[in-house]
Structure formats: C-alpha cells, structure tokens
C-alpha cells in the first residue's frame, strides 16, 4: 500500500481525501440547516448540474462568459505589456504610471460596475468586461514589471557595454526573460478573470452569461441551481488554470532543453 501511494499518486490521494472532506462538511451543513433554501442537498445540486449540462442555454451562457473573459484578459495583457515595455524604455513614464496603477488597483470593483452600467447605458455585456480589465490590467502590469526588474543585472551590464540597441534588447533579451515568469501566471490570471467576470455578470444581470443565469436562479429562489452553477464556475476555473499553465510551460523550451537550429 505504502509502496503504491508515493509521489504524484500520494498527491492525488490527498486531493481525493480533501474533496471527500468537503463533501462530508456539505452533508453535515445540509442536515444542520435542514432548509433547502439555505443549503441545498448534494444530490439535488448534482441533479441541477446535469440539467445545466443538458441545456443549450447554459452552454451559450458559459461560452459568452468565457469569450468575454478571454477578451478582457487579452486587452489587459496587451495594455500591460505595451505600458510595461514603454516603462522599461522610459523610466519617467514608469514613475508617472505608478499613481495611476495604484488608483486602478484600489478601485472598488462592485461600485465601479454600477457606474459603468450607467455610463454604458445598460449594456450588460460591456460592463463586466471593463471591470475584469480594471482588475487584471494592474495585476499583469505589476507582474511584468517585477519580472523585468528581475532580469539578471549582468545582462543589463552586457547590453550597456556592447551597445545593444534598445529595440533589440527589448525583443531579444528583456521580453524572452520576462515571458516565462509572466506566462507561468497566465492560468491563475485567466481563472481569476473568469471569477471576476461571473461576479460582474451577476451584478449586471448579463443575459448570455453564467453570472446572469446565477442572478436569475437567485431571484427565483432556485438555490440548488445556484449552487450547481457555482460548482461549475469552480470547475471551469480549475480547468482554465491547468490548461493555460500547460500552454505557458511549452512556450519556453530554451530554459529546459537543448535545441539545434
């Protein structure tokens, strides 16, 4: 037994034990509450998950939320990347951006979404995207800048002594040095973006979005459906994190193995 469960298998075993533990806590909470409008039973919730997976409306909503998350991530990544590159080339810009980034970072998300809903004249698709960008952009910018600051000082000396042109230094030295660190966090960033997007959709009542379905379930007091949608969001978040992390891992071959050109 001890021989069979080691390394990776042992980690899987611990994860399974954790899931069983949470399931038991759920059953106990369900018994204590004894009210399906407060804590729905697990079998009712899983029935709702199955109903969701069978319905076309759910898949359209999930696709909509996912698409908006990717769009928000892409905008945040591009904006953060360009501004970080400019900040590296022109340090005064970095100093100027510091208060702006700090301001965006501390903006209260839920309050902002209400304001955006007013400004965008009730466009329930755009508001969650803007809020997700407002959360992701300063975070990704900070990650890129931290990675850029972490570039080996010896390489910075080499760039200076050998008069490497700024453009060449940026594209051939800085970006490749920064990318592994930044890409490694892509999975976590996208899955956080997904979570923020769902929250935004709940508040904006976005029709073709998981958040909209959640709000609809909440207004109809369908607690089991609400719990089912929550579990689906968690599962999608985990899968997204794993998929993007794997993608990031295969993009920087040079740090691990040899290659002949």
């Amino acid at each position: 037994m001890k021989k069979f469960f080691h390394g990776k298998k042992l980690n899987i075993l611990y994860s399974v034990i954790a899931v069983i533990f949470m399931w038991v806590v759920w059953i106990i909470a369900c018994h204590i509450a004894d009210n399906p409008l407060l804590v729905p039973s697990w079998n009712e919730t899983f029935r709702e998950i199955w109903q969701c997976l069978k319905s076309g409306e759910f898949w359209i909503a999930l696709g909509g939320t996912f698409w908006r998350t990717i769009a928000a991530f892409a905008v945040s990544f591009a904006l953060a990347g360009v501004l970080a590159a400019l900040s590296c080339i022109a340090p005064p810009l970095r100093a100027g951006l510091r208060p702006v980034i700090a301001f965006v970072r501390i903006l209260p998300t839920l309050a902002v979404i209400l304001l955006i809903l007013r400004w965008t004249e009730s466009d329930k698709n755009v508001a969650p995207v803007i809020v997700t960008v407002l959360v992701l952009f300063p975070m990704i910018y900070a990650q890129i800048m931290a990675a850029a600051d972490g570039v080996d000082g010896g390489l910075k000396d080499f760039i200076k002594v050998y008069g490497i042109k700024k453009r060449e230094a940026l594209f051939k030295i800085y970006l490749p040095a920064v990318c592994p660190n930044v890409l490694a966090q892509t999975g976590a960033n996208v899955s956080l973006g997904f979570k923020i997007m769902v929250s935004g959709e709940v508040l904006a009542f976005t029709r073709k979005g998981v958040g909209g379905l959640m709000q609809s379930a909440n207004l109809s007091a369908m607690v089991a459906r609400l719990a089912a949608l929550t579990l689906i969001v968690v599962a999608v978040g985990i899968v997204t994190d794993i998929l993007f992390s794997q993608f990031a891992r295969i993009t920087y071959k040079w740090s691990k193995k040899d290659a002949d050109d």
């Binding site: 010896g154 080499f158 200076k160 060449e168 051939k172 740090s255 691990k256 290659a259 002949d260």
Partner: protein
C-alpha cells in the same frame, strides 16, 4: 596611448581611488594585479561606462569578458554572437576559430562553464572595440581549462592585436598573459613593470617572473 587622468571613485565614505593616473599602451596586454577589494573591477567598470566616477576617462568602445559568461539564455550560441556582430560570415569564422562550430545551435543552459566562457571570449573578439576588458575571466575554471582558455585567447589575438586590460588577483593568470603588470593597492600603483619575455610565456620564463611578482605583491 589610452590615458586615465585624475580618476576618483568612492562608495560612501570609502575612497577607492583618488586622482589615479594610468597610461595604457595600445595593442598591449596590461594586467592589473591586486588583492580582492582593491578596486580593480571598479576601474574596468568605469572604463566601460558601468559606474560613475570623477576625473577624465577616454570614451572607448569596449568589449568586456566578465567573471561569468553573461550569455543571453534564450539565444543560441550563434544568436549570442549575432547580438554584437551582424556579419554572419564573420560569426561562422569565429565559431570555427573558437572551436564552437558544433555548439552553434546550443542554448547556454546546455553548455559547460568552460564552453560558455569560450563563447564570451569569441563574442568579445567579434565585437569591434577599442579595448578588451577582462575581469578575472578564468577565475572560476580549473587549471587545465584555464590554460585552454589562454590558448584560445592568444589564438584569437594572433590576428587581432587589440589593447587588453585584464584585472586579476591570480598571479599565474597575470604571469601567463601580461606584457605589463601593474600591482595596485589602496587605489595606488605599487609596482609597474614590463617583463621582456614574450607572451604566451614559456614555463621557464613564467617561473622566474612569478617569483618576482609574488615578492612585489607581498612587499
């Protein structure tokens, strides 16, 4: 002549150099020898424009062989050389002369310490500079590898008699390579002599020069 005049440098209250003067003959290998912390690297960094200073320094295009190779990890050996020279024919020739042709497509992570330092030497010679600065370039290598590096260095220098300023605390490195040895201590020149034996030095010439240099160092 490359003239350094009234060079001054301090770190806080610690004065490393004050009105230090040095003339370097072009085309010669000069070695600054001194104990660790005697400010040798500071002088090289000032010449390379990596640190601020007081006084007069000539504006020079520098090649610099650092203590570690400082190769760009995401570029192959060929890519690293291409950063400092755009002529692919020259790069090909340099790879050949440095014995790196079979390593051209390798990334630095897969090179040994000695191979990485070979690339750094090739890169320094490939870059068209006025002076080649060397900061204890072989200190991390074992004795066998160290002498292989000297072979490469002198092999490349046969065609390219570049001015070289090397700093080291290793007497053997100085004795093997220098046409002029300057011993510095507390930011001042203690001894400055030019042995008349040609470089790379033969074993019998090295032994006598080594003894003399050690005597000066301990004095």
């Amino acid at each position: 002549m490359i003239e350094i005049k009234n060079f001054s440098k301090s770190y806080g209250n610690n004065v490393v150099y004050e009105n230090f003067n040095l003339s370097l003959e072009e085309g010669k290998i000069t070695c600054l020898l001194g104990a660790s912390g005697s400010g040798k690297t500071t002088l090289l960094n000032a010449l390379a424009g990596l640190t601020g200073y007081g006084g007069e320094m000539p504006k020079l295009k520098c090649s610099y062989i650092f203590q570690n190779a400082r190769l760009v990890p995401n570029l192959t050996v060929r890519g690293n050389l291409a950063l400092v020279c755009k002529d692919m024919t020259k790069i090909g020739e340099m790879l050949e002369r440095a014995g790196l042709s079979d390593k051209a497509g390798r990334y630095p992570v897969s090179l040994s310490g000695g191979e990485a330092q070979r690339v750094a030497i090739a890169r320094a010679f490939l870059y068209e500079s006025d002076i080649l600065l060397m900061d204890e370039p072989f200190s991390s290598l074992d004795i066998k590898l160290k002498y292989k590096m000297f072979d490469l260095f002198f092999g490349l220098r046969e065609k390219d008699k570049r001015t070289v300023l090397m700093v080291t605390h290793d007497v053997d490195e100085a004795v093997a390579a220098a046409q002029r040895i300057i011993i510095i201590s507390d930011g001042k020149i203690k001894y400055d002599f030019s042995p008349d034996t040609p470089v790379p030095r033969k074993a019998e010439d090295s032994a006598a020069l080594r003894e003399k240099t050690v005597r000066f160092l301990l004095n």
